[in-house]
Amino acid sequence: MIPLSWIFFLSLSLFTIGIFGVLARRNLLFILISLELMLNAVVLLFIAGSRYHPTSIANSDGQIMYILILTLAASEIAIGLSLVIHMYRQHHHLDIDKLNQLRD
Amino acid sequence: MTLFILLFIPLIGGMLAWYSEKFNANLPKKIALVSLLCCWLPLFSPLNNIIFNDNSFALSQWLLNEPHSWIPIFNIGAHLAMDGLSLLLIVLTLLMGLVALSSAWHEITKRTGFFYLNLLWTLAGVIGVFLAIDLFLFFVFWEVMLVPMYFLISIWGYENRHYAAIKFFIFTQAGGLLMLLSLCALVGVHFQQTGLLTFDYIILLQNPISGDLAFWIALGFTIAFLVKLPALPFHSWLPDAHTQAPTAASVILAAVLLKTGGYGIIRFVLPLFPDASLILAPSMMLIGVIGIIYGAMMAFVQTDLKRLVAYSSVSHMGFVLLGCFAFNIYALQGAVMQMLAHGISTSALFVLVGMIQHRYHTRDLNKLGGLWSKLPKLSAFGLFFGIASLGMPGLGNFVAEFLILLGSFEQYPKLTIFAASGLILAAIYSLLLIYKTFFGQIKGPHDSKISDTNTKEWVTLLSMCFILIYLGLHPQPFFDLTYTSLTNLTFIPSNIGS
C-alpha cells in the first residue's frame, strides 16, 4: 500500500512546479498550462485523501470532488482560451507584462 | 416646547431662505432677518421672569427643562434645558447672528439663499449645543454646527479658502470623534457602576465616576473642547479659518463657535469628573498661560489684519482656559464674562476688518495706514475696539481678565504672574493694530469716493460699543445669572496650590 506521505510529496512538488510555471512564464498560454498542473496536484490529494479515509465502507467523496474539479477546469480553460484568442487578436502578442493599462 | 421652537426657527428659516432665492435675489436676507428676530420670542418668557421676579433660580438651576425621549432603547432623550449660563450664551449667539447678518447684507451677492441657510443652520447647531443636556444630543448638535460652517468658509471665502475649510473641518471633526469615544466610554462605565444605561447629563451628574479610566475619559472630553476653544497645541486651524472666511462667517466663528469649547469645559468636564479635573488642572492652566503668551507673540508679528485678530483671540481664549481650571468662583465668573466680552469685541474687530477689506480690498497691514484722516468714524470704532481688546478698565474684557487673574492668583501665584504678562503683550499687539491701520500716513491709493461707515454699519458697531461698556460698568446681572450654575463647580480643594 502506498504510504500517504509519498503521495503528499508528489502532489506538493507538482503544485510547486505549477506555481513556478505561473510565476516564471510571461506567455499567457504557459500560465494556463501551469494552472492545469496545479489543479492536477490538488485532485491527486483529494483522491488519495478519500482512499485513505479510515472508515469501514469505501469512501468515494474524493472522486466526486474530482468530477467537480474537472468541470471547473473545463469551464476555466474555455474562458481562458477565449481570452487568449481575444488578447492575441488585439495585441498580436501574448506577453502578460504589457497588459498594465488597468493601472492608471 | 419653547426650547424646541427656539431650535426649529433657524432651521426652518434657513430652508425658507434657501427656497426663496428662486423668487428674487434679496428675499433670503429678509427671511433670515425675520427668522433671527423671531428667535427672540421663545426667549421672552425666561428673560422677563429673570428681570422682573428674580426668584427664578429659587427652585432649580434650570430655567426651562424639557425632557423628551428620542431613542428609547439606549435611553437617549431629546432633553433640552436652559440655565443662566446657556441663556447668556444663547443671547450672545442671537446678537452675533444679527451682527453677522448686518455685515453680510451687502457683502454676499452670489448664491445668497444657500449662504443664509448655512448661516442659520450654524446658529441652530450652536443654540442646540448650548441647550442640549443629553450627551448624545450634544454630540449631534456639535456636528450640526460644524458642517454648514465648513460650507460657509469653503464657498464664500477668500483666496485659499479650501485649505482653510478642510483644515478647520479635520481639526474639529477629530475633536468631535474623540468626544464621541469618551462619551460612549463614560456611559459604559456609568452603566457598569450603576447598572443604568443613560446619556442624560443630570443623572450622570449624580454619581460621578472616578479612577484612572475617569481620568482618560475626562482627558478625551477636554482635548475635544481644547480643539474647539483653540488652546495652544490645537490652535493652528483658527488663523487660517478666520483669514479665509467671509466676514459674517468669521464673526460667527469668533463670537460663538469658540465659546462652545469653553461652555463644554464648564458644563461637562468640571462637574462630571471632579477629581480627574483636579489632576488635569495644573497642566491645563499651564497650557492656558502658554496659549496667552504664544498667541500674543504670534499676533505681534502678523502682517495680515485678520490673522492678527485671530491670534489675539487665541490669547484671549487662553485666559478662559486659565479661568475654567482655577476652581474658584471669581475665576469661573471671569471665564464666562471673558467669553461674552471677547465674543463682542473680537467680532466687532472682524466686522471692522471686513469693512476695511470691502473698501480697500486688502488686509495687509503694510498697505493700510492713515485711515483716520480718510474714515474718521470707522477709525474711531477701530480705536475703541482695539482698546477694548487690550483690556481697558471700564470695558467688559478688563472685568473678565481681572477676575480670572484674581481667581488663578489664589491657586497658582507664580503661574498667574506669567499670565499677567499677557496683559502687557495684549497692549503691544493692540497698539500695533491701531497704529498700523488707523494712524500714520496714508499708503493706499487716494480715491476719495470711499465712503465712511453707512448707517447700518454705524448702528451695529455703536450697539456693540454700548454692550461692551454696559458689560464693563455694570456686570452684576450677568454674575447673578450664572451664579447658581457655577457655585456647584467651585469646591475649592484645599490641597492644590501654595
Binding site: 506555481i19 498594465n100 | 501665584p413 502687557i424 497704529y435
Partner: protein, 613 residues
C-alpha cells in the same frame, strides 16, 4: 452733608459728561471750547467751594456712592468716591491747573482742525484723573489709573500723521502698562491677603493682619504697588518714556506730564501710607529710587538742547524729590512739593508753549536768543518759573524743597540730604542756563506773532500761584510739622539757601564765556555729554535687553512652529502615498508573486508557532 456728597460726585462726572457730549455731537469751535472749559472750571469751583467748607476742619471725610460695580462672594466693589484732606489737595490742583490749561489751550489749539477731538480727550483725561484721586477702592483707582494712561496715549499721539508721535505714544502706554500690571498683581495679593480692596479697610486690616512689621508679604504688596507708581510717575527703571512724551501738544505736556498724571504714583503711596509703614525696607527703596531719579533727571536736563525735553527731565528730577520725601516718611511735604511743583512746572511748560507758538514750532533753545525784549510776558513768567524751580527764597518752590530737605535731616538720612542738595544745585544751574540761553544774548530769530491774550492771562495767573502757592489749606497744615529749624546745624540750614545763587552765578559765568553752545572736542567729555543727552542711554539699554530679543523671537516664530508640524504631517502622508502607489503597477505577475510571498510568510509564521510550542 448729603448735599456735599452729590456735589462731590459731580466733580468727576462733569468732565465725563462734557467729554461724551463732545464725542457724539459736532459743535463748532466756540461751543466746544465753552463746553470743555466750562465743565472743568465747574469742577474747579466745586473743589474750591469744598476747600472753603473744609478749610477750618482738620480731619473731615466725605464719601458718595455712584452704584455697585462687582459683587461676588467676598469681592464687593462699588463706584464710591472718598474725599479727605489729601484728595482735597489733589482735586484742587487737578481742577485748578486743569481749568487754566484748558483756557490756555483754547488759544493754543485754535487753528488745529481736530479741535473737538483734542478737548474730548482732555476732558476724558481730567475725569479719569479725578476718578483716580477720589476712588474709594483700589479697583476704581486702577480704572482711573488705566484711563489716565489711555488718555495720555491718545494725547501724545494727537498729531497722528507724524510717525514719531505714534511711536512715542506707544512707548508711553507700554511703559506705564508694565507698571500697571505690577500694580494689578499687587491688587490680587492684597485682596487674597487682606480680603478687601477698599483703601481705608486695607490700612486697618494691614495693621491687624500683618502684626510684625517688615514681614515679607507686606514687603511684596508694597513692592508691587510701588511698581505701578514707578511706571506712572516715570521713576528710575521706567522713566525714559517721559522725555519722548513731549511729542504731544504743549498744554498736554503741561497738564499730563507735569501737573497731574505723573503725580498719580505719589498720590498712590501717600494714600496707602499706613500700608507702606508696614514695610520699612520698601520705604528705604523708595527713598533710594527717589535719589537716583533725582540725580539722573537733573544731570540729563543739564545738557539737553530741546526746550521741552529739559522741562521733562526736570519734572523727572522733581518727582524724584517727592519720592525721596515719601521714602523718608514725609508724605505731607511730598504732597506739598507736588502742589507747588504743579504750579511752577505748569507755568514753565505753558510759557514754553507760548514761546514755541510765537517762534513757529521752534524747539531748539540754541536757535532762540535775546527774546527778553520781544516777548516780555513770556520772559517774566519764564523767569518766575525758573526761580521757583531753582527754589530761590520766597518762591513757592523754596518753601516746599526746604521742607523736604529739613525732613531728610529730621529722619536722619544725611547721605540722602547731600544728594538732594547736589540735585538742588544742578537744578538751579540748568534752570539758569535755560533762562540765559533763551532770553539773553544776541537774538537769532524774531517771533512772528505774539501769544494770544488768553494765553498771557493764564500765564500771569500761574505766575501769581507759583509765587504765593506756599499758603495751604489748614487740612494740609495739620499733616505737616511747623517749619522749625531746631534740629538743623547752621550749615544744614544755610547751605540750601545760598546754593542756588552760586549755581546761577556759575551759569552766568559760563553763559558770558558762551561755553554752552560750543561743541565739545575732548572725546571723553563728548562721550559723557552724549550719555547725558540720551538720558543715561536707557533707551538703548532697554532696546538691547528687552525689545530686540522679543522682536527677534517673534520674527523667528512668524510661521507658527506648531502649524508647521501639522503641515509636515500633510507632507508625510503625501510622501507615503507616492511610495505605496508604486506597488499598484498593473503587472499580473507582481500580484501573483505577492500572493505567493504571503503564503510563504504564512507558512513561516505557522512553522515558527508550531516549533515554539
Amino acid at each position: 452733608m448729603t448735599y456735599y456728597a452729590s456735589l462731590l460726585s459731580l466733580i468727576p462726572l462733569l468732565p465725563l459728561f462734557s467729554a461724551l457730549i463732545l464725542l457724539f455731537s459736532k459743535p463748532n469751535k466756540l461751543t466746544t471750547a465753552l463746553l470743555a472749559v466750562g465743565s472743568i472750571s465747574g469742577a474747579a469751583c466745586i473743589s474750591l467751594f469744598l476747600n472753603f467748607v473744609f478749610w477750618q476742619q482738620t480731619d473731615f471725610v466725605l464719601t458718595s456712592n455712584l452704584g455697585n460695580w462687582i459683587k461676588i462672594a467676598q469681592l464687593h466693589i462699588n463706584f464710591s468716591l472718598y474725599l479727605d484732606a489729601l484728595s482735597l489737595v489733589m482735586i484742587t490742583i487737578i481742577t485748578g491747573v486743569g481749568a487754566l490749561i484748558h483756557l490756555y489751550s483754547i488759544g493754543f489749539m485754535y487753528q488745529d482742525k481736530d479741535f473737538k477731538r483734542y478737548f474730548t480727550y482732555l476732558n476724558l483725561f481730567v475725569s479719569a484723573m479725578l476718578f483716580l484721586v477720589l476712588a474709594d477702592n483700589l479697583l476704581l483707582l486702577y480704572l482711573g489709573w488705566e484711563g489716565v494712561g489711555l488718555c495720555s496715549y491718545l494725547l501724545i499721539g494727537f498729531w497722528y500723521q507724524d510717525r514719531d508721535n505714534n511711536l512715542a505714544a506707544n512707548k508711553a502706554f507700554l511703559m506705564t502698562r508694565i507698571g500697571d500690571t505690577a500694580m494689578a498683581l499687587g491688587l490680587f495679593l492684597l485682596f487674597i491677603e487682606l480680603g478687601t480692596l477698599n483703601i481705608q479697610d486695607l490700612q486697618v486690616q494691614a495693621l491687624s493682619v500683618w502684626s510684625s512689621s517688615n514681614n515679607n508679604m507686606a514687603n511684596l504688596c508694597c513692592l508691587l504697588l510701588l511698581g505701578g507708581a514707578l511706571g506712572k510717575s516715570a521713576q528710575f527703571p521706567l522713566q525714559n518714556w517721559l522725555p519722548d512724551a513731549m511729542a504731544g501738544p504743549t498744554p498736554v505736556s503741561a497738564l499730563i506730564h507735569a501737573a497731574t498724571m505723573v503725580t498719580a504714583g505719589i498720590y498712590l503711596i501717600a494714600r496707602n501710607s499706613q500700608l507702606f509703614q508696614m514695610a520699612p525696607d520698601v520705604m528705604y527703596l523708595i527713598a533710594f529710587i527717589g535719589t537716583i531719579t533725582l540725580l539722573l533727571g537733573a544731570s540729563a536736563a543739564m545738557v539737553q538742547s530741546d526746550l521741552k525735553r529739559i522741562l521733562a527731565y526736570s519734572t523727572i528730577s522733581q518727582l524724584g524729590y517727592m519720592f525721596l520725601a515719601l521714602g523718608v516718611g514725609a508724605g505731607a511735604s511730598a504732597v506739598f512739593h507736588l502742589m507747588t511743583h504743579a504750579f511752577f512746572k505748569a507755568l514753565l511748560f505753558l510759557s514754553a508753549g507760548a514761546l514755541i507758538y510765537s517762534l513757529h514750532h521752534e524747539h531748539n533753545i540754541f536757535k532762540m536768543g535775546g527774546l527778553l525784549k520781544k516777548l516780555p510776558i513770556v520772559a517774566t513768567s519764564f523767569a518766575i518759573g525758573c526761580a521757583a524751580l531753582a527754589s530761590l527764597p520766597f518762591t513757592s518752590g523754596f518753601f516746599s524743597k526746604e521742607l523736604i530737605l529739613e525732613q531728610l535731616i529730621d529722619s536722619g538720612h544725611t547721605n540722602f540730604w547731600w544728594a538732594a542738595v547736589l540735585g538742588a544745585f544742578i537744578t538751579a544751574f540748568y534752570s539758569a542756563r535755560l533762562f540765559f540761553v533763551v532770553f539773553l544774548g544776541d537774538s537769532k530769530q524774531s517771533p512772528d506773532k505774539q501769544p494770544e491774550k488768553i494765553m498771557s492771562l493764564v500765564l500771569l495767573l500761574l505766575c501769581f500761584f507759583s509765587l504765593f502757592g506756599g499758603i495751604q489749606p489748614s487740612g494740609i497744615q495739620t499733616l505737616m510739622p511747623k517749619l522749625n529749624a531746631s534740629g538743623l546745624t547752621t550749615l544744614q540750614h544755610w547751605l540750601p539757601i545760598v546754593l542756588p545763587f552760586i549755581a546761577i552765578s556759575l551759569a552766568w559765568w559760563m553763559f558770558k564765556t558762551n561755553l554752552f553752545g560750543k561743541t565739545i572736542t575732548v572725546p571723553a567729555l563728548q562721550y559723557f555729554h552724549q550719555l547725558l543727552k540720551s538720558g543715561w542711554a536707557f533707551d538703548r539699554i532697554y532696546q538691547v535687553i528687552f525689545v530686540s530679543p522679543f522682536k527677534f523671537l517673534c520674527q523667528l516664530n512668524k510661521s507658527d512652529i506648531i502649524d508647521l508640524h501639522y503641515r509636515a504631517l500633510e507632507k508625510i502622508s503625501k510622501l507615503l502615498h507616492k511610495k505605496f502607489s508604486q506597488f499598484q503597477n498593473g503587472k499580473l505577475r507582481c500580484y501573483n508573486a505577492s500572493l505567493i510571498i504571503f503564503c510563504v510568510l504564512a507558512f513561516a509564521w505557522f512553522i515558527k508557532g508550531a516549533l515554539m510550542s
